[in-house]
């Protein structure tokens, strides 16, 4: 069922013809926060209540997009006079480059990547321009956790606009077993807009998305992530498609990219992606858990919960060596009983 929905979502298949199925399809899109993407594909061909629902989603996504563009403008403004050119990651990049992957996409925050050497300067510039450490992670332990173990600064929230920014200096945590060569990707980045910001090239965008989805997280938004991969893949020209796996190998991200190609090939029926995978398939044993989890997440309900069980330990395992993981979980559980944050109930993430 879900696979059919995914294909309808990107316009590879028509909308479900029966009323009840169409209602179920829209409900599915709503649950997965992809109504905006559905709107970009289907609003023009819709009428009546369906058109209303899609228009509503388009307007909401338009707001996110405006917010994102403006945040980019503000980041460039904050860094004016320095020669730091942050790379926009994920949604920010898709919007800056007007990619299909960015259309109708819901966003809650903006991610940028800067060389580690510039990290302090970037943080200082942002703080001077009105960003503040996010309350929910302002505690000493969280600060230490982010700074020492992770691949980003603790999130900053702008005091007036209340938007969040994640400043990364690498693409996977320092402690993760997968170490992507972010330096290579950073130096291949290209200017966006007026040149004060940058974006990755198309291949690196796909690679980063694959890393983010399969090697760094709990896969919380499966439909959204998979649709993103599909569009990013479609955005590659022939030469890029052919070179994709080589580039992935070069930057040390081959296995997530192979997972991603598997997803695009299997779920969206892309022959091109299937051909690229060719004989270089991952050993079934390594591939199986992730793929089961993807399938489970897509099915929702009990399957999704099962997938969570598979994925939650995995997401941590991907990020930290075992000893450190034990320490972190211990600290986390202790924090449940002994919170560091002194300010109660303030709006924060999670």
């Amino acid at each position: 069922m879900s696979r059919a929905f995914l294909r309808s979502a990107v316009g590879l298949a028509p909308l479900p013809p029966r009323g009840a199925d169409l209602v179920a399809f829209i409900a599915w899109g709503r649950r997965h926060h992809i109504l905006g993407q559905l709107a970009t594909v289907w609003e023009q061909e819709s009428a009546g209540k369906l058109a209303d629902v899609l228009a509503n989603a388009r307007i909401f996504a338009g707001h996110d997009r405006r917010m994102l563009s403006y945040e980019m403008n503000r980041i460039a403004r904050a860094l004016m006079g320095t020669d730091i050119r942050p790379v926009l990651l994920k949604g920010g990049a898709y919007v800056a480059k007007a990619l299909t992957a960015g259309e109708g996409r819901r966003v809650s925050d903006i991610d940028i990547l800067v060389p580690e050497a510039d990290l302090k300067a970037v943080e200082a510039a942002l703080l001077a321009a009105g960003w503040k450490p996010e309350v929910s992670t302002a505690g000493a332990y969280d600060q230490h956790y982010y700074r020492d173990w992770m691949h980003e600064l603790p999130p900053l929230r702008h005091a007036r606009r209340r938007t969040l920014i994640d400043v990364h200096h690498r693409l996977t945590p320092r402690t993760a077993c997968l170490q992507v060569d972010h330096g290579a990707m950073l130096s291949a980045a290209r200017p966006a807009g007026d040149g004060s910001l940058q974006v990755f090239g198309p291949m690196d965008r796909f690679i980063h998305s694959a890393v983010h989805i399969f090697a760094d997280g709990t896969f919380d938004t499966p439909a959204r992530s998979l649709i993103e991969l599909y569009y990013l893949f479609a955005d590659l020209d022939d030469a890029d498609q052919v070179s994709l796996r080589d580039r992935a190998r070069e930057v040390g991200a081959l296995w997530p990219v192979d997972h991603a190609l598997w997803a695009v090939a299997t779920l969206f029926g892309s022959r091109r992606a299937a051909a690229l995978r060719g004989k270089n398939r991952l050993s079934r044993l390594r591939a199986l858990p992730v793929r089961l989890a993807v399938a489970g997440k897509l099915r929702e309900g009990a399957w999704a919960r099962l997938a969570d069980v598979l994925l939650y330990p995995r997401s941590h395992w991907l990020r930290m060596p075992v000893g450190m993981l034990v320490k972190h979980l211990l600290q986390k559980s202790r924090r449940m009983i002994s919170p560091k944050s002194a300010v109660a109930g303030l709006p924060g993430r999670e």
């Binding site: 649950r31 061909e45 209540k49 369906l50 058109a51 629902v53 509503n56 909401f60």
Partner: protein, 321 residues
């Protein structure tokens, strides 16, 4: 495949809630297939709560509804127990608009409140096709009176009183503004009354106009004044704003009127909107046109009769701004 995907049956041909057998209504409600078509919105409802169901059947009798699973809705609302355990251990009920929003759990007898709160939430937090402002709206043929919601200002009581004066009810809770144009759209749901207002409105509107009363809710004593058949019949007819009021009720106060500059009025009005910023330019355009077409006043009053007399006077003087 052009224009064929509409996902709904023609709302004009739809039966009223009262025309359906209660048993069918209950069955559709239990499955979440009951779709209420009111003004610009179609709302899919689901509940097992008997109090909420009875309330719906009584207060929304004249609204068009569909009971089949083929009908697309703008929003869906599930009035349900907070979790499985609560269903048995200590029965409670709460609105669940489909996104994470753990609202105040209520005892089952307060199902109607959970339903009404949920319907407000569904619109306030999920509607982006129209700019929503926290205000009551009533209108006659010449235009609309928008009553902004000051806390304790008596917005709903005043709206109910003006219904008695032959204004039609557009909405008790939201001024729903068309993007790009200063048109206000009707969404005529029951008028929600708190504490002393319940009896005040009952006294002039009559018992038949009222719902039962819920005591001891998180908002105090709550009762509803139903939208009339004529209000429902006009639910697709928008109105143009002429008067914007910021009411303050003060026990025993002398009735008083003070003009509010349009610039100030706009600022206050936006502060009561949950979605102004989401609509961006379209909301700005319609709001500026609205500001040009209204006169705005702070009004202070000590009783309902005063407030009605005062509004009558403002309404007849000056014509359109």
């Amino acid at each position: 495949m052009s224009g064929s995907w509409n996902g709904s049956v023609g709302p004009e041909a739809m039966k009223r809630l009262a025309d359906h057998a209660v048993r069918d209504v209950a069955a559709a409600l239990a499955r979440g297939h009951l779709v209420l078509h009111l003004g610009p919105f179609a709302l899919a409802l689901r509940t097992d709560n008997a109090a909420a169901r009875d309330f719906l059947v009584s207060m929304y009798a004249n609204c068009p509804v569909s009971l089949d699973q083929d009908t697309m809705a703008d929003f869906s609302l599930h009035v349900r127990p907070p979790n499985l355990l609560r269903r048995f251990v200590r029965r409670q009920v709460m609105p669940d608009p489909g996104f994470y929003f753990p609202s105040v759990p209520l005892p089952p007898r307060m199902g109607p409140l959970a339903l009404e709160m949920g319907m407000n939430m569904a619109v306030a937090l999920q509607c982006f096709r129209f700019a929503i402002y926290h205000a009551a709206v009533v209108a006659d043929e010449t235009g609309a009176i928008v009553i902004s919601a000051n806390s304790g200002g008596g917005k709903s009581t005043l709206a109910a009183a003006l219904m008695q004066e032959n204004f039609r009810l557009l909405s008790d809770e939201f001024a729903i503004m068309q993007p790009g144009e200063p048109l206000l759209l009707p969404y005529p749901r029951p008028v929600s009354l708190k504490n002393a207002s319940v009896d005040i409105v009952r006294a002039f509107a009559g018992n038949d106009a009222m719902s039962g009363v819920l005591h001891g809710t998180p908002k105090g004593t709550i009762g509803y004044r139903r939208a009339r058949k004529s209000d429902i019949a006009a639910m697709h007819r928008p109105a143009r704003g002429r008067l914007l009021l910021f009411p303050t009720f003060m026990e025993g106060a002398k009735a008083e009127v003070k003009p509010v500059e349009a610039g100030d009025a706009v600022m206050r009005f936006i502060a009561g909107s949950p979605n102004y910023h989401v609509l961006g330019e379209a909301a700005y355009t319609s709001l500026m046109a609205f500001a040009d077409s209204i006169r705005a006043y702070d009004i202070t009053y000590g009783n309902t009769a005063d407030s009605v007399a005062l509004v009558r006077e403002l309404w007849t003087q000056g014509g359109a701004a």
